[in-house]
Symmetry: D2
Subunit: 460 residues, 4 copies
């Protein structure tokens, strides 16, 4: 679904004082695969030296017993990457690894800085050379140039960069888990067998057998030592803590339902979005059908609230690949595509309510509606479990240009008409806030209210 839906940058996972740490990170990354399918990498250390393996592709394609066996040590960090650039480039794969004044440093970054261009120009004027096109490299230069020990250098770096970053930084003797002052991207701490694990999402704790302890707080730097009798979890004072602005698209769309983000179960949040939709938009229909998989949980919440029958009339094909070769002689909208099919007899003659997690461009939604129409649905209504998207994200979500968003410059009725719907409804911003709870979230893509001044045009 990459083509039509916004895509996310990266998942990170780290393990400290864990036996065979790289293996643990490999397993954790395999449960964070949805956050980045383009490339992945792991850097480990045994306190003596760094070991590294990176490659293009899925975790299961890049790593095997042989490559993992080379990644020795009880401390490791890893990274799944999704890049929006057309050309995949191995040199941008993370963790980035450098040698500098402070020794060997590896860094894994989830998020997007907003003042990269200005910082990069300043650093280049100071003689820095850049070997990647990532904003993450900027942070490494700032660390290497600070005239201070690493802990202090990290604080100085955080004072200079703006935007979203959940970070893992590793040296030969310790690792740091860091979240930006707004807490845009999630980052959670877990414990296992006396060691520590850090993950973009808690679902990865389940696969490694770790216990979820707490989330890294916005602005916090957690220090974990490779060795030491009572190596403890040390929280550096939160110097720049600000009103939390967790990306609301994480619980709506990106995160796995079996994750808990800042204390809120993603599954329960989605189920409650469905129930809240039922309050805001009760519809008289015969059948509720989700767009799989994004709309499934909300549809079940909606059906449960109103006593309506939910049916999985859209079925997913789990064997997606490059194999589907478009036939030319068939009108496309009347048939299945290689990702999804429709069980026509479930909707024929019925009043149908479709539930999806978002409408971005609207292209795919329009095809789904046409598919239902050709299958003989009597009425087609759609509800979306978030407000309309009308603004770009500067913090790591790859939305298309606002001009290409279905909701830009259109009323809800106009969107409905364009998609061929009998009716359309969105969850209200207040409804979403009620569901997501009291902690602060970023709703900028809905309401344009950015926590920080957006990057200037010159920086694009």
């Amino acid at each position: 679904m990459k083509t039509n839906y916004p895509t996310h940058y990266c998942g990170i996972f780290g393990a400290v004082q864990v036996h065979d740490a790289a293996r643990c990170v490999n397993n954790g990354l395999s449960f964070l695969q949805h956050r980045g399918e383009e490339s992945c990498g792991i850097t480990s250390t045994d306190g003596e030296r760094f070991y590294e393996h990176k490659g293009m592709g899925l975790v299961s394609q890049v790593f095997n017993e042989e490559t993992l066996a080379l990644l020795s040590g009880t401390m490791a960090i890893g990274h799944n990457r999704y890049s929006t650039t057309g050309k995949s480039e191995l040199r941008n794969t993370q963790p980035l690894r450098i040698d500098c004044r402070l020794g060997d440093i590896a860094l894994a970054h989830n998020g997007n800085l907003t003042n990269t261009d200005r910082l990069r120009r300043e650093l280049e004027s100071g003689g820095a050379i850049f070997q990647t096109t990532t904003d993450s490299e900027v942070m490494l230069h700032l660390l290497a140039r600070a005239d201070a020990p690493l802990e202090q250098a990290i604080k100085e770096m955080m004072a200079k960069v703006e935007g979203a970053y959940s970070l893992l930084i590793m040296t030969r003797d310790k690792a740091f888990a860091i979240r930006d002052p707004y807490g845009f991207r999630p980052l959670s701490l877990g414990s296992m067998n006396g060691g520590w694990v850090v993950s973009s999402e808690t679902c990865a704790f389940d696969i490694v057998g770790a216990r979820y302890e707490r989330d890294v707080r916005p602005g916090e730097i957690v220090v974990m030592e490779l060795k030491g009798r009572d190596s403890a979890l040390t929280a550096v004072p939160e110097e720049k803590a600000l009103p939390r602005k967790l990306c609301s698209f994480e619980p709506i769309y990106f995160a796995r339902p079996d994750s808990i983000i800042d204390g809120r179960s993603v599954y329960e949040a989605r189920f409650d979005m469905g129930r809240k939709l039922a309050q805001e938009h009760p519809r008289k229909v015969d059948i509720v059908i989700p767009i799989p998989d994004g709309g499934t949980i909300a549809a079940m919440g909606y059906g449960s609230a109103l006593g309506l029958q939910v049916h999985m009339a859209f079925t997913r094909n789990h064997y997606i690949g490059r194999s589907f070769i478009c036939p030319t002689q068939v009108r496309r909208e009347r048939i299945a595509d290689h990702k999804i099919n429709l069980i026509a007899r479930l909707v024929k003659g019925k009043r149908v309510l479709v539930i999806d997690d978002s409408i971005v461009r609207g292209t795919t939604s329009g095809k789904r509606v046409a598919f239902l129409r050709s299958a003989g649905a009597a009425e087609i209504h759609m509800l979306v479990s978030c407000p309309p998207h009308r603004n770009p994200c500067h913090y790591g979500i790859d939305f298309p240009d606002p001009a290409k968003l279905a909701a830009t410059g259109r009323s809800v009725d106009e969107i409905a008409s364009r998609l061929g719907l009998d009716s359309l409804g969105y969850l209200s911003e207040q409804g979403l806030k009620d569901v997501l709870g009291p902690h602060g979230h970023c709703f900028a893509c809905f309401n344009g209210d950015y926590p920080e001044k957006p990057p200037t045009a010159a920086s694009s």
Copy 2:
């Protein structure tokens, strides 16, 4: 027996008088991928010669624009294969293609013959050489040795072979769609743009934009001509038609929910199995959770019948690969595996009813129960949407030895106790019959009542 002649799961798809037939077959096969992931192949013809491409792997791995471009012509047949032998062998890949007295012939077979050994011995005595270990090759020898035109040779072959076979046979000027006299395996006919398509399951018609016309009848030979002004669908008289014995495991487990088999929607059948389970085994529980994906639809039917909340507490990981490397220091039952995770907070303290489509060995089910137990479920009940499996299948389903089946020699209570369940229930045979409808089905794996005499021990 299985070791020598590996069992076919397999899916077959054919296209006649269809523009770019191989492309159409490629797309059809991609929707039949669940019936065989080991290897696949397509043979096409333009009336002049045969074109062929086969390989180990998924349709999306074996075929691409380049290979499809070589498969010219308006007639083609294809095959997805699943083999139970540990070693994958390319020489067993189908369609099989031979040159013989009757010219070029290609054959794609879904099913399993039961008198292969005797026929093979007879043929070898007559000087035949075998280059594969498939039972399908036996049929080709019978065709080549019949002193008759192909249509007659097919009838003579059908008089000699026993067991399950849905077949596609192709020469340079026509194709045949054939189903054994019991109709063990499904085979459906569709039409598109004046041409014909044939598929193991109707879901593949949706992806190519064809219209489902009817099923090939047990014992029927459908002849489709490559050319001719009014190339018609010609049904050869049903000579050996017998009481239909469609494999009941097709609607229970094997077929896609978006398929219709012999007139019965698989989705609706599964939903009704859930409703029938509710009649036979009403349970007082707080939450119904399916084992994904097999138990999902039945769980929704069950929940709907009794007004119980269904929750997708087990979540599937869609990125399954060889990457997961077992950690040694963690007790396995307490954590997720690489295919499935559990949202613990949905079941904690709850009376839980798990619904699955079958219990074969019981190993996996036992792990799921332990997983629920460790997550704090108060009670754990399980219902299965078919009767207990206690007998081997000779017609193409690869069950383990009866000695390894969970239900062999055990009462339902004993099975429940072994799996750690508070209670266990199966759909009754009568209940399954009620759901599947008036057409005949094979229930031999449940009740040992085989339509034909099983193969003798000597044949193993």
Copy 3:
């Protein structure tokens, strides 16, 4: 050099009563790689069952420790294949392996039958099915249909097939090394550690550490048993022995210089061709340069006979691959190609004599001459270490159509003029006979005198 030079069909290697026989065959095949680069395969047996691995590519690409470990047993046969069909087809890879009346049989064939078409038609009329397009499959059908034990069946098969064949045939308890009655293709026997090895060329004995014993005689069937206290080399009476007709192109061009064929060292034969050329065509030149690698040894013989300085002015590039992308703006004949370069200063202003092993189409030779010309050679003469090629080969050498041969319908002077040479000379047929020795050779490609009636046009 495939494009311009004729290419050969296949090398075969077998090992009996040899520890880890497949490994031995792998090593032997790696020294026969020049006889076929398209595909290779090995079939082994431990007396209980057959093990097999085949694939497209070089021996070093198809086999590794893992695949060899699966090929158990102390008896194995292997095959390197070159095919002249544009499309490489895995199904034609050898050893062919069948199951039939006589049990499991594997066959590896070097050579080309000349009555394949007639035999195939007869077999098809008798109900045989063909799954490959090789002539080798015909032999297997004849074996399976003979109403006799295998030894007798082989004799009957040899009475029916015509043309060239060096064969290895293996069952579960013995292997046969067979050479056609004319002995067109080489086949040698060696011994190692009490076991036997058989090879297309003796050079492969060196790599496995075996001792060359003798050549299989034309028309002979050598039987080697898997087990038995004094398993001996048993020669079946030579029933059809005829005047030997070893392909003369083997010592001239194909075989490795470190091989001995029917008692004659290939290296020495080539050196002597050079000396004989010196007798027949003494030239007054400043420098003798071979076309590498084919002309090198003859050039040294020529230089040695006349006291002329030999220089390797043409140098080979050992990294040949698909990488060379033709520039469009350069006249090709003035520059190196990706296979060969010229050290211009060695030839500038000199009278140069080029020595090559053959001229087939003449295209490449013409380019070499132009290259020398542009480098400033004063005179360019060429000598070829065999007579002019003017006729097709029916026994396994893939010459182009006679119409495309440089020598067809042209006198030697006309060829010289066409290639831009100052003079050209060929080794005479008598000279070649003198060099190759008293045993009979096939010179049909030079003189059109075929040992057997050539296949009729209808059979092509």
Copy 4:
């Protein structure tokens, strides 16, 4: 030292004002493949942006039509790399490419710096971060930190680095060809169609159809502009020119025979080494045999000088791969290995003189001698076309530790005895000087007389 900063063998090639420059560089690199087989890369520019492709493996494996098509522009530089580290690392692949104060810069380097450690420590103290383990990256940092335009920055960089470097540096509008003040490594200039090419060896000019113009002089910086009406070859004044110290191992061993280095033909130099050996060590033998391919040309020179017959008794196997699996039951020295075989009958009972280009460890030489012995050679003498190696190289040749060199601490007679030779002789240092001509060469590996102070132990 070598473990940390792997030694460059490496070949470099550049093209400026050449149509489809990347294609030209690809072809050039394919003729420099012998200088580095581990990895390769090309960076091109059209004046607007940089295009890049790099990978592990041979040029023919890394590049194809598709990848070359992406490398637009009329200026490009490329690099073949050989690394001595066991683990191949993609991040060390060249050309290195950075973005910095001066814009985009790409750099390709052949040679080895000797003060890397000190420079790297200084740069790290200044805040620099290192992302590779190459000494080449040090040069890029020096360029980026110089407060000057690029031409001046290059001069300042050259004033700081010590050791061997032939360099290609490219920006969006010009390229620089640079050779260190001693001229350790070769670098030649050619012209084609109004544009310029630069290559480690002149053989690569032949394959692209360029004309050899001259060598870059030690200490020279040649500037080539992407555009401009009369873009000329501009030689910056040679500021640091010193007595030339071309690596003598280039003509002895490393360079291709079809190259000309600093005006001396490699082929002729090797032929003359053979003739000089004949002067210094005339031997009474029956046959002279080279170790292929290194000893071939010298052997021909030797035989020519003394009227002795040269025979290619050692034959090379051109299909080297991982396929050869060592048999365990055979004494290794008596048989061929996968790279070389011996034509025993050529040496049996003969007094044999073996000629090789060098003896480093002596292990392989010892095996060759044993092989000859077991083939029945009556006497075995060996001559080597250079003096004994007794010292490490700091300038890019990867010799083993002196302790492992055959000549360390041993007289020539002792070496002969150790290798099992009847006699052994080396070309004298003076003899080598006579052959290589008046220009200065580095003989440090023979005589320990290093042009610069070697790196201190602390730098390892």
